[in-house]
Subunit: 595 residues, 2 copies
């Protein structure tokens, strides 16, 4: 996940408002910390298929993941030094691997932003229902409710401050470390641990099972790139501080994961429906009293905030992609509130769909998560190798080797994860990534074609005035018509009033009233035996193809929105017909009527 | 129900295309004939509460209804003579009872149009599921599907011809008469009649039960006014032909209702879940072979066509109400296809809701039907009494007496029906009628106020040109901008290009490109620290309150609708802000780009 912090930053922010090591760690580690809530469970749930023996491999599998984490941490330490302006997977691959690879990275990031929301919300609700089992039947509704709250907050625009995240992150880390330390010194579990369910059809421990457990557990590695993406948010010296935060994050994460793995084995924890592994470990270590609820609540809060980071990240990424013409330009539109509402809406809708399809179950969603993450990791590592080879700073072969090793490991992990998870939903990601990339390619090609037609980047011929004709559709003799004609006459010398005759209505009455009024404007009467409104006008305008035609439509605009139902839609029907079938400029004038 | 035939009629149609007695009977009796499918069942279902003894009263109750039918037929014979231009309940009460009463009549007609659709569709599906019981679980879906088909056909616009209705109506009438005649000559039922379910808690036969059965059965009287509404559709001599058709309709309907009632008693038919009474009678009379399916299919077809008549009638009535400023003017909008799509949409949505609420069960809907019908009957009869008293033609006291007696009977029936049906959904109609009337009053008042403000009906001062300023928001230097400025320069002398600066974008680049281009138009740069698009422009325009301001927004319009997602929505955002918060005329120019 790229971080959310590019948003509050304004170019003239003083250094004092920027992040210290601790602040950056708190603000940027939400995703990574959150994965402590579902990572260990992802391992246990696979190993439990082989019963107690299988669960005995929790620690070795976690160790392997911790090693990969160590490598990633060091790799990103180097990314920070090389891209002090922030080096997300998209930025690094765009700089070093070309457009196509950068689109793959972008697609993997988009997929992961969406999955991060879905997984975090599902895991947060799982923490809640572990503490309050009576809420279990409402899992999906709780998920969608939480998502709705997060979406609403983000649509209204939040001026979030990194400092706001320090307290919940600190409480969560402190709580988890307490669980680990207390648990290590206990002889046995305080609260009763659920007896293992009778497991039939035990799998033997095979390399495949271990690979699967490893792949599943890799979900715990999501989020370690966030600090590397947000180097500009740190205080000077930026690179040093960001590097220290990155290393601290890797260290803390490794300690928590390994500590929990030790406790899982020590207390013989196994997966139980409706109770998360983390809450079982907590209960075994701290009992089911006050401490238990502190851990559960801090988990819920942290997961909600982790879901929120996607809402900071995806819209910013989408905006960048839109500016590079890879996504529709609406994603770069910030409109009246300072919010990229299209990005927020896209994120909310897709993650809601995922939650509904997965029935709000985090263990269905977690396996999908790691695939996109590793694709992004691998691409940015390869990009780094290219970077070192091109710039060749002192000691570059060692640095390139570290990143290359990282690319190898994460690339292998990507293959393992995809292969082992393919049937369990992994295919969805395998399909989604190329589809997103192709869609972005199509958008890019379309914009290039439009840009060529618009002669963007060239200096066009100067604008030259032409003859103009202002056509005013009239329907009654009234102030509305008078104001419309007055506006038209102020514009140009050639004004024409056009009356599309409705055979059901009293024509003579209108013509008489018009002649009595004598407004000094030519009146053209158009007849259509098929009673159409727009088509006769479109036909009529064809005769004036030699000049700029403006059609001025006057409409009554009631003050109150609920009075809109009183508007006749003639103006809208005309405007749509003109827009579709003529080149006339449609001008709409509103005549305000107090309600 | 008023008839649908005002639609295909065009003012220059020759007499040859108009209706003969038989044609008119077929074309205009759909509603009335359709009630044969649910009227007898409505009686039986009430009487069955008193067991076999209760069902013995089917014939007397039907006789009472037939007497009321006779009175109504004669009354409408007089309406035809008095209103040869077509005298619906709305028209008659508008002419003779004042606006408020005409609105009550209109509301009752609206309610009945909606109920006619719901009841006909439900009854048609009931006829279908009686023949094919395996379809029973899908009742609601079948109803909504049928409604969707009818709605789609009507939205596309149908050039229906009265002749198209002759065959299905004739087949239905012939089939029912065959059932009656064959049944009368049979000694006993051919097919086995279902044994009565064990009925506990029998009600005794009381006056209340009989009144209820009468009230329920009155649903069979819906539709007898259709011919009176459509006199202009008949061949000359119109009044005579229409009167003959009306009498023939009353006679046929009475024969069918009474014949079925006799058979119901003869074969001891009682209500069975999932099988209509009509299909039981048919099976008892004709057996369950070919004849049975002919009756069932002709019933389904007839009911579908009966539902369709509301789609001809309600939109025309709504259009008339809209022209009289009682409904929003959109109901009078026929747009491109010759269809009042708002009326059709309103009818489809409300009747779909009714079908969903009633779970597609016709016996839930039928009781609601009679209330509105009798309100309309009574109002038009009272209007007729007023009519005779005012015009005083030869023999007017007798005519007034007949209509007065009719008003008394139908008024009493309205009270009986409302009282006995109040708890079973009748309250819905009792609430809906005044709500609709009040809504129409509100619409009328609002339009009067708007009309005063617009000085409708007066001759306004002549339009006078004023100073004008054309503002062109610019964003790039491109052909789009050039074309927009060229159009603006063709309009007026005062043209101003306005650039709302996006702090995220390269400003200097734009200004340099502009100065290099040198289009000869003043460039105003607007800054907004809150990055808003519309507000800075609205603020800027406030400075030009002394002249007509036109804002010309140029937009790229891709050829294919699915390329719309590529449009940036800046134009739409600007247009909305200007519409809401300024008096500027918003002109939108489309720059077409081939796909």
């Amino acid at each position: 996940m790229t971080a959310t912090l590019s948003r509050p930053e304004s170019s003239d922010a003083t250094d004092r408002h920027r992040l210290s090591v601790v602040g950056g760690l708190a603000a940027l580690s939400l995703d990574a910390m959150a994965s402590v809530a579902y990572g260990p469970e992802a391992i246990v749930i696979v190993l439990a298929a082989a019963g107690g023996t299988g669960l005995g491999f929790t620690l070795p599998v976690t160790l392997a993941i911790a090693l990969l984490l160590g490598d990633l941490t060091l790799s990103y330490r180097q990314v920070i030094a090389a891209f002090p302006d922030g080096g997300g997977a998209y930025g690094v691959s765009r700089a070093h691997l070309g457009r196509r690879a950068s689109l793959v990275a972008a697609a993997s990031l988009i997929v992961d932003y969406v999955l991060n929301v879905a997984v975090s919300v599902a895991a947060g609700v799982a923490a809640l229902t572990s503490a309050f089992p009576e809420l279990l039947p409402y899992t999906v509704w709780l998920c969608l409710g939480a998502l709705a709250v997060i979406t609403t907050v983000n649509l209204r625009g939040i001026a979030e401050s990194a400092r706001a995240f320090i307290v919940p992150t600190a409480v969560f880390v402190g709580a988890i470390l307490t669980v680990v330390v207390v648990g290590l010194f206990r002889a046995g579990p305080v609260a009763a641990v659920a007896a293992p369910e009778h497991v039939t059809n035990l799998q033997t421990i095979g390399i495949l099972l271990l690979l699967k457990a490893f792949a599943n557990g890799c979900a715990a590695l999501t989020g370690v790139e966030a600090i590397a993406n947000a180097v500009p948010s740190f205080r000077k010296p930026r690179v040093r501080r960001a590097q220290r935060a990155e290393v601290a994050l890797g260290g803390l994460l490794a300690v928590m994961l390994l500590g929990l793995a030790v406790l899982i084995e020590k207390f013989s924890i196994h997966p139980v429906d409706g109770v998360t592994v983390l809450s079982q470990v907590t209960a075994a270590s701290l009992g089911d009293g006050f401490g238990f609820y502190v851990v559960q609540f801090s988990t819920v809060v942290l997961l909600a905030l982790a879901a929120n980071t996607s809402f900071g990240g995806l819209p910013v990424l989408a905006q960048l992609l839109a500016k590079h013409n890879n996504l529709p330009h609406v994603f770069a539109l910030r409109a009246e509130r300072q919010v990229y509402r299209y990005g927020v809406g896209f994120l909310a809708i897709t993650s809601a769909l995922l939650l509904i399809v997965a029935d709000g179950d985090m263990n269905t969603l977690v396996p999908l998560f790691a695939i996109g993450v590793f694709v992004g990791f691998t691409l940015s590592q390869i990009g780094m190798v290219r970077h070192w080879r091109r710039d060749r700073p002192r000691g570059w072969p060692g640095k390139a080797a570290l990143n290359g090793f990282g690319a190898l490991l994460t690339g292998l992990a990507a293959i393992v994860v995809t292969a082992t998870k393919f049937a369990e939903g992994g295919w969805l990601i395998v399909v989604a990534l190329p589809v997103i990339v192709l869609a972005m390619e199509w958008v890019h090609r379309s914009y290039r074609r439009i840009g060529e037609r618009l002669e963007l980047g060239r200096t066009p011929a100067p604008p030259r005035p032409d003859r103009s004709l202002v056509v005013v559709p009239v329907h009654t003799v009234s102030r509305l018509t008078r104001d419309a004609l007055a506006a038209a006459l102020s514009l140009g010398d050639h004004v024409e009033a056009v009356h599309v005759v409705d055979p059901d209505e009293d024509q003579a009455g209108f013509v008489d009233a018009w002649e009595l009024w004598h407004p000094g404007v030519t009146l053209v009467q158009l007849h259509d035996e098929r009673r159409r409104l727009g088509e006769p006008l479109v036909e009529h305008l064809r005769k004036h193809a030699d000049c700029h035609v403006f059609v001025l439509i006057a409409e009554v605009e009631p003050e109150h929105p609920w009075q809109r139902i009183l508007q006749n839609r003639r103006g809208a029907v005309l405007a749509r017909a003109l827009r579709r079938r003529s080149d006339a400029v449609v001008c709409r004038m509103r005549f305000r009527v107090p309600g």
